[in-house]
Structures are given as C-alpha cells and as structure tokens.
C-alpha cells in the first residue's frame, strides 16, 4: 500500500548570523534525515521537546518551507504544485489560532474566501457555506461576522480548523493545535478533530509536546530529538514498551498519580544547541546508558518489533519478541 504522504530523508538548515557580527554565518541544522510516512486516514503523532524541530517539520510538511535536502512525496510521487483551483491537498492548524487569523477581517470572511477563490463554492452560496462550516466545527453561525479578537481561544481554534477544512484537504497538519487551550476545551477540540476525521476520511500529522494527548489521538507515534526521529511505531506498543532511552525518559517524566510508581531519574541538562550538535548520537550527552560507541557513531534505524523502528546502538533487533 502506498502511503498518502511521505517525507524522505528531509534535512533543514538555517543560516544564522555569527554572534560577533563579523564572523562567518553559522549553520543551524533544524532537521536531519527525517523520514516519515502517513497513510490515508491515519493519525501520526509527533512528540518531542520544545526546540527539537517539530514546527519546522510541520512547515515543511505543508510546503510553507522548502527543505534544504530530501523530498516531499504524495501518494508515492513528487508532491504536486498547488494549482489554486479545486480542493487543496494539505492544510495546517496553527499553534496560535489568534495569530493565524487576520485580525482585521471577520472570521466568516476568512473561512469562505479561499473556498471561493478555489471555485469550491459560488458567491451566492458562500454565506450558507460559511454557516455550514461554522456549525460543523461547533460554532454558532452568527459568529461569522465577528472579528477574531471577539472570540475565545477555543472558538478561534475551531475557526482555524473550519478555514483549513473548507478547502477540502485530505491531510491536516496540527502543530500544537491544542497546546494553548485549557483542558476542557482541549478535550472538545480533540473530539471535534476525531469526528471530522471519521466524517471526512482525513489523515493527520498531530504534533505535540504533550504525551497524553498524542497517546489519545494517534495510531502511530514518532519521537523526535534534536531534529531527528529517534523512535517510531504503533502508539499502544510504543507507549507500553519504549525502546529508545530518550522515549523511556520522556515517558518516565510524565507525571503519574499512581502511588509508588517507579520513576526513572529525570533527564539532566538542556536540549543541546542545534548550532553545535553533539557528535555521534545526538542524545549521548544526556543518555544514562551511553557507551563509547554513541560518542563516535550516529545510530542507524533498527527494527525492534513489528513496524517499530528505533535509532539506538543499544537496542537489539527484535528485542521485544523475546519473552
């Protein structure tokens, strides 16, 4: 089966001015060798610390940024150019819905505009189209005439979702879509995304730093550390038996209400600067199990179970099939 959307060996470098304004520009490797696959109708969760390159990955996935190396594929072929007519292929739900809406236009305008430009709705049907979408994302159609600052955070997120889906994409990238919302609203928006997915057969790339959210919505999960994917696999298995030391540390750091639950020592130190990444495995300076080899050699993907991949020297192939 061909995947709906793939990233193939994607790398992204930014050039950053040198600190002492006369030195040479520095290269910041935001992403290195990222491979991702999203099947039609699937939800892939992407977790990682702040600053590990999640948002850069989101922008590359939707095409707002062109990667420095690697390719974006659609149904196994090169990603088609947006013709600005008919349905769009991918859309994005932005992290900050307030910033993602034009503050000077009513939200209804913004929901209907692109659909009309793309010929998905006629001028006469536009008002009905907008009310329909507002209703579908659980908003009162009367809000169409409101400006973004008149809406609450949850309402804005819903409006951004409606605007993205109004151009009929098949793949939706949600970049920390619920991070700014309080818990009850978060749950409502997650349920809405699940309903819309079932209704429209959408595939999601769900990016979050919040493990419990990702666990709740994703079928497969990829874990990212300093611009690389370090582990991926089916959500249930990955959360049940994390293989990569980073994933283990991440899961151990999740607060648990269980009394006396065994907790691993929390990770020490900060995420290293992507301007000066560590040699070998990027995680080795913080890894409790690092060996000499980790300092020298960057680990390749190893299969560690059905459909599970892990980039770590310490992981033995097929380790979890041994009882």
């Amino acid at each position: 089966m061909t995947a709906l959307f793939e990233l193939e060996n994607v790398g992204m470098e930014f050039s950053v001015p040198h600190r002492s304004s006369f030195g040479p520009a520095l290269r910041l490797a935001a992403l290195r060798g990222v491979d991702l696959r999203v099947d039609a109708g699937e939800v892939l969760g992407l977790v990682g610390e702040s600053g590990c390159g999640k948002s850069t990955l989101a922008r590359i996935a939707v095409g707002l940024l062109a990667p420095s190396s690697g390719r974006r594929l659609w149904q196994g072929g090169p990603f088609p150019r947006d013709t600005r007519r008919g349905p769009a292929l991918v859309q994005m739900v932005f992290q900050d819905a307030g910033a993602a809406l034009n503050p000077r236009r009513p939200v209804g305008d913004q929901i209907g505009e692109a659909a009309m430009v793309r010929g998905l709705v006629t001028g006469a049907a536009r008002a009905g189209f907008v009310s329909d979408w507002l209703t579908r994302v659980g908003l009162d159609p009367a809000l169409a005439g409101h400006y973004p600052h008149m809406l609450s955070g949850g309402q804005r997120t819903r409006a951004v979702i409606a605007r993205a889906l109004a151009v009929q994409p098949r793949f939706l990238v949600c970049d920390e879509a619920t991070a700014a919302l309080d818990l009850s609203v978060q749950a409502q928006v997650l349920n809405l995304l699940a309903e819309l997915r079932a209704e429209l057969g959408l595939a999601y790339l769900f990016i979050s730093h919040d493990l419990s959210t990702v666990r709740h919505v994703s079928e497969r999960v990829a874990v990212m550390y300093l611009g690389r994917i370090v582990e991926q696999g089916a959500a249930a298995e990955l959360f049940a038996s994390p293989q990569h030391p980073y994933t283990q540390a991440l899961l151990a750091a999740t607060p648990s209400l269980q009394a006396g639950a065994a907790t691993a020592a929390p990770l020490r130190g900060e995420l290293p600067s992507p301007l000066d990444p560590p040699s070998g495995c990027a995680f080795h300076p913080r890894c409790p199990q690092a060996i000499e080899r980790c300092r020298r050699e960057s680990p390749a993907w190893r299969e560690c179970g059905a459909g599970r991949l892990c980039a770590c020297h310490l992981v033995q192939p097929e380790v979890d099939v041994i009882p």
Partner: protein, 291 residues
Amino acid sequence: MKGAAGLLARYAEDRVAAAALALFALLALAALAAPWLAPQNPYDLAQLDILDARLPPGSAAGATELVYRLGTDAQGRDMLSAMLYGLRISLAVGFAATAGGLALGLLVGLSSALAGGRVDALIMRAADLQLAFPAILLALILLAALGPGPGKIVAALVAAQWAYYARAVRGVALVEREKDYIAAVRLLGLSGPRILFRHLLPNCLPALIVVATLQVGAAIALEATLSFLGVGLPVTEPSLGLLIANGFQYLLSGKYWISVFPGLLLLGLILAINLVAERLRVLLNPRLQGV
C-alpha cells in the same frame, strides 16, 4: 462601524487631544468655508485698497464698510481673509503632499519588503541617502529647479518625505509578513496580489496612519518655511508662510499683526495636528490595544 465609535470614545478620554481634534476640525472647516467666511477675496486685486495698507486690527476701511478685524498687510489686504485663504492653501498642500508621499512610500516600502535581498538593500540605501539630506535643503534645491507653484511644492514635499513612509511601511510589512495569518492564506492558495491588498496592507495601515498624521504637520511646516524663504507659492496666492514673510520686515516697527496672526494660526494648526497624531500613536499601538 462599532469599532470606529469605540475608537472615538477612547480617543476622547484624553481631554487635551480631544480639544486638539476639535481645534483641527474647526480650522479645517474654516479653511473649507473660506470663500463664504472671509470678508474679502484676498486674491482679487480689485477689492484691495492700497490706501488701507498696514492698518492695525480693528480699523475701518477707508472706502468701504469693511472693518479690518486683524488689520491689513502691505497691500491693504484684510489679514483675516488672507489668513483663511492661506490656511486653505497650507492644508491643501499638506494633505496633498502627505497623500502623494504615502502612496509612493507604500509602493516603494511594500516592494522593498516583499522583494528582499538586493532590491530591498538598494531601495533602503536610497531612502537612507535621502534621509541624510535635510528635507528643507532637498526641497529648496528642487523648487529652485522647478520654480514656484502649488503643484511643484507638493512634488518637492513628496520628494522630501517619501522615505519616511517607505521605511515605516517596510518595517511594518516585514513584521506582518512573518505572522501566521499570512502563512495561512499562502497555504490556502490565495494569489499574491490578493494576499498583499486584502491581508497584508490592511494590517500595515494603522501604523502608517500615525506616521502620516505626523507628516501632515511636518509638510505644512515645511511648506511654510519654503514660502517664507520665497521659493514656495507665488505672492499672488499667499500661504501662511508667505504671510509671515510679508510682515517680517515690519515686525520691529510696531506693525506686529502682519506676521504674528498668521504665525499663531500656523502654530495652532501644527500643534493640533501633532497632538492628534500623538494620541493616535498611543491608541493604535498594538501593545496598548485591548485584545
């Protein structure tokens, strides 16, 4: 629109600014209605009586019923009428120059911000070069070459001021361009011009309104200076600056009114405009805006 009424209400919270706006409105109305308000048409030489030259305020005309409430100038022109017409010219030149500068600055600044790279560097260095010249010097040189006339002075003022707008527009556009709502509409597949005119430009305007308001005051002052120096408007259509210049030589001989009244009017006008601009700057500052 509800937003406009709300803005006006918040504007009026500052009493001084409210008074400044009222004064400005009054002056603008007076300038518009000058032909009906003025006791005399100061441009019609047949109505002037040279025998009434340099009469002090309150004098009666020799030949007509007219009372010169603010005195007369060296040509026997009623000062009140001359000032009303002068105000008209000053305001018209100020607003025309601002509109022209804003249009040119918008075009240049937006192109600069959107093009980036070398085009951007080239345009901005040209703006720097222009700003390095004193505006008055540039306008003087241009007017010396072009000759006097309202159209020419507007052109000179635009040439002296476009760079302020271009820099302001570029700065705002560079910030707005990077915001997510622009990324979102790009992703939605809207065309470049549509994004520019319907999304980017409307969000750049509030900052520009402030710059433009301040520049109206600056343009009026600059025009007055140029006219005072004798390179602005022709003597037959005196603006406020030219009226001040006309009375300048009599200032120390006790005939203060020829210079002082137009001077006070100019002062009041520019002060009112600057106070309004300052209040707008506070109101339209996004950091002080209630979200």
